[in-house]
Amino acid sequence: MTVTAASIVTAGGADGRADGSERPDAVVALGNVTKTYGSTVANDSVTLAIGRGEVIGLVGANGAGKSTAMRILCGATMPDSGSVLFEGRELDPGRYGPAEAHRLGIRIVYQELSLCPNLTVAENFYLEQPQHARPSPLWLAEYRRLARESLSSIFGDTGIDVAARVGSLPISQRQMIEIARAASSPGLKLLILDEPTSSLDAGRAAALHRFVRLQAAAGLSVIFISHKLKEVLEVADRVVVMRNGRVVWEDHAERTSVPALVEAMGGTRTAEAAGARARPPVPADAPVMVTLDGDLTSVLGRPVELRAGKIVGLAGLEGSGQKQLLHALFKASAGAGDVQRTGRVSFVSGDRQREGVFPLWSVLDNIAIGRTARRMPTAMVDRNADRDAVARWSGPLALDPERFESGILDLSGGNQQKALMARALISGADVVLLDDPTRGVDIGAKRDFYGLLREIAAERKLAVWYSTEDAEFLECDRVLVFRDGRIVAELEGDAISEDAIVAASFTAGEAGAGPERARSPGQASAAGRIFAAVPFVGLLIVFGIMAAMNPLVASAFGIELLLAPAVVLVLVALAQMFVIGGSEIDLGVGAFAGLVNVISATLLVSHPGFGALALAGGLLGYALMAVLIQARAIPAIVMTLGASFIWAGIGQTIQPSPGGSSPEWLPALFQWSVAGVPTPLLLILAAGALAVAIDRAPVGVVLRGFGSNPQALARNGWSPLRYAVVRYLIAGAFAATAGLYLTATNQASDINAGASFTLLSIAAVVIGGSQLLGGVIAPAGVVAGAVTLSLIGALLAFLGVGTDYNALVQGGLLVAILGLRTVVGWRRTDDRPA
């Protein structure tokens, strides 16, 4: 480097623009913002101002602090110190959150997509701009129009079906939707685009650039974050470079160049890499640890053998099959298949939070599990031996032994990663698999890490290393370049260079459909359609068998008799459906129906006013459960299990043994009839129609959104607490109706009457085609599933099977359907944010 960071800042300052907080026309500004995570300073007095109609290009290496600064800017993260200014006014840090940012017109398009995959494109637009919704059954049409227009105004003709579920669309289309959704918000003042073109082809990216320039001319401020430096220079007015949590450089885009930016970001490490290759050569007869063959190497036309003592890089565009190979190698064995491996293996993931650390453990325990993981369960653990074994690695890892007893999460990302590396080494593995291990790690830790890799190789181990940073491959002896799931090129020794890797990733082999080959959306939806039909087909079959055995079943009277018991289950199942739609399960729903049954058959008869109050109190109890689940992070299972005892206990106290009677007016509510159609059938259809209406209404869309991507909704300013309460109130109302129906038809009550409905309701919801992970519910299917389950009891009686077997058959059916779904592979294929 010829110029130091400090002198560059001064150079920028000479321009009179570096201290951005002084800008009079700034829309939004950060003033001396500092934020630390543990011992890592993510933002170190960052000052940044964005003028009206200005496009700022923000660049920096991974972990430079860009994402933290942007999260602070849009209220998702609270800074330790410093201020956020909006139109010159300092915002109250205590009150400034995502919702407030939203209101002020600040939008961010995140790197990780924040759409709800289970909702349609139009429904996702609703979540962003709820103000256009009209109280009409056709309210969504407005959003379909909005989505189409927004998309075409930026990208031209995209061919995106706005009525399709987002999860079924390819990632490039999802990225376009994400951008269009944020850019179309009314009152938009600042648009932050974080790697907006990472999945777009050149044509779409160019369209986005034009759109950004056009909007900026009309007064919109834009922050454009990208690793594609040429793109940044094209689109931005001003370029800001961050490094190690600081703003180190800024200048007009037209006065700068890509090499200047690269140098400001941290330079290249060519010199170091040369040092890496100066290692003593590996003997040619080193044992072969890994053999790759078959489709994987079909482009190369020969198998690939990887020998001990080498560092082998897996390069190529993200998602070209590098991770798949690492996981295949982890599972592989010797002597079988296209991917073969000998020796012991260990895996180091760069996704520390999800796949790396054990958050409850100390650093020592996190490392020592490498020794314990593969042992027999009955083997003894010796902490002193663990400590000694770990201590041996503290030197090469540059990990202070005094920190071994502190919690793993107290360490910086880089040190956590070193601990994970130590875990892999302590296991005595011969093959070390590395999945982008330096992601978000600072430069110092990276250097330690490269040194460690060389030591691993020196100990005659094989390191297979996938990285998203092409410069890191300069540390490797050998690089395999991937494209579309195959190895398309192999580089060795001096042939390894960033240019060669980039050239091979983009041009070697033929251009294919991109990395999205795992599963075609059509396939998934075909399986989905089959499972969606299960409850209806099942209902037809069960009903058909019964009608064939006794023709009276198909008469109006027969239907009335058969369906009457089904009404309760339909109502309880619909209640359960709304809870399951939020990724939760209500274990007390049956008991609650029983309690309402008791209250309405006793208190409501003797003291109507007090009874009504008690029923309202029950609903309030449901709302309170939602509040507690949200506010105290209580698992819904435990909450509702505890509540089930409360409901049952109250019922037992009011009425210790079955009895009571129905209020005179209650049966009239459930016993009307239209034109000879059996009443239970009408009731079931009405309940189903109501559930469908709620689900299709705006509130239903929000509830489904919370079921799949609560963080995204919270960022959009939706209140998780309010909608949890709404969800539980809806569920409580359906369950309460079931209890009232029990009273009306039985003319009596029994607190235990509802208990058996809990499992049945879950079974009905699952059979009906809802997904247990939440966000996907199917009211019509649930109704059909509930009726089917209810009829199965009658069918078993028809077939002469004792009622003892009801539970067995119903439970078996539930497990069979869930198991089948797993086997067929119909589960959510979309990526849920962890």
Binding site: T68, L360, M380, L409, G440, G642, F645, I646, A807, L814
Partner: protein, 331 residues
């Protein structure tokens, strides 16, 4: 000093349950005056049955991801019936009885584990369904019962005393000691905690995740099965709904004892105190002459209150950024 106490309480979360036991017992002694050592053995006996069941529940809860074994009550009831039917009150038939009970425990545990591990059905639904299947078996068994008689050996185990201490209490304490040993001293304890904290991380560290989870479910079913056998000997027979109280109470003893409901961290000592505290609460209510309905309500409230309290404790134990996933891009 206070900081050290706080640290101790944070790392030994069972301390709260132990304190609760002491306070409640002291209150009972003062208020009733007649609450003697004798009544304490009664409490300890009830707690021992709960403890055996709760230790199994604790292992399943430790596997994480909200796993709970809801089939426990059905296993307890069915095992009680099988004990009555197969043993017929004869010591000679005990080996066969034991074999049947081990069979029930292993089959239930393996089926639950198969549904959870292989078919990837959420544990709560898998065990709910298997519990219903067992309920069917229990209904059938109920028709086979010809007479209620208890084998002498079983009666000695369930109601006998050794040096003034009920044998069942010794069994419970022994089971807890064994579980504590497994959790803290063996590789399995480490593997189980790893799986409970982060399943992907455990898998990539080389832990045999499926085996680890399977062992927990089988242990839970086996312990419930043993509890059912002893319970039938204690009660002098078997009846439907016999195991029902153990659904909420087993979960309650685990969370009261300070094990994390989210998995990954559990304490057998805590579960001892959790079981004791819960039984003491119930005993207190019985002494106070509360009707069964009120007792249910109080139990439900206690569990929810403890969870509300522990929810915050969990929040302090793990940084918010980690829990919410908001810090994914944080360096």
């Amino acid at each position: 000093m206070i900081a050290r106490l706080e640290h101790f309480a944070a790392t030994h979360r069972w301390i709260w349950a132990a304190l609760g036991v002491l306070l409640l017992w002291a209150a009972l002694v003062i208020v009733t005056e007649r609450f003697s050592l004798h009544s304490l053995t009664g409490v300890a006996t009830s707690a021992a049955f709960l403890l055996i069941v709760a230790l199994g529940q604790m292992l399943v809860v430790t596997t994480g991801r909200g796993n709970i074994d809801l089939s426990i009550p059905s296993v307890v009831t069915l095992s009680a019936y099988v004990t009555v039917i197969v043993s017929g009150g004869q010591d000679a038939a005990l080996p066969l009885t034991l074999l049947c009970l081990v069979g029930i425990g292993c089959v239930t545990g393996l089926v639950n584990a198969f549904l959870v591990v292989v078919l990837r059905i959420p544990a709560i639904i898998a065990t709910l369904a298997s519990g219903y299947a067992l309920a069917t078996a229990t209904l059938i068994a109920n028709r086979q019962v010809k007479g209620m008689a208890t084998a002498d050996t079983l009666a000695a185990l369930a109601t006998g005393r050794l040096g003034g201490i009920p044998v069942i209490v010794l069994i419970g304490v022994a089971a807890a000691a064994l579980t504590a040993f497994v959790l803290t001293r063996t590789a399995y304890g480490r593997q189980l905690s790893a799986v409970g904290q982060s399943l992907p991380a455990a898998w990539l560290s080389g832990v045999r995740v499926g085996t680890t989870v399977t062992i927990a479910f089988v242990a839970s079913a086996l312990l419930a099965s043993v509890a059912g056998m002893l319970l039938s000997a204690y009660a002098g027979g078997a009846f439907l709904e016999m195991g029902s109280p153990y659904l909420l109470q087993s979960v309650g003893a685990v969370v009261l004892g300070g094990s994390l409901i989210a998995g990954g961290a559990s304490t057998a000592v805590g579960t001892i105190f959790g079981a004791l505290l819960l039984v003491l609460v119930i005993t207190t209510m019985q002494i106070a002459g509360m009707p069964p309905g009120t007792q249910d309500i109080v139990q439900g409230l206690v569990i929810i209150a403890v969870m509300a309290f522990a929810g915050e404790a969990r929040g302090r134990a793990t940084p918010k950024e980690f829990r919410s996933g908001a810090g994914r891009n944080a360096p």
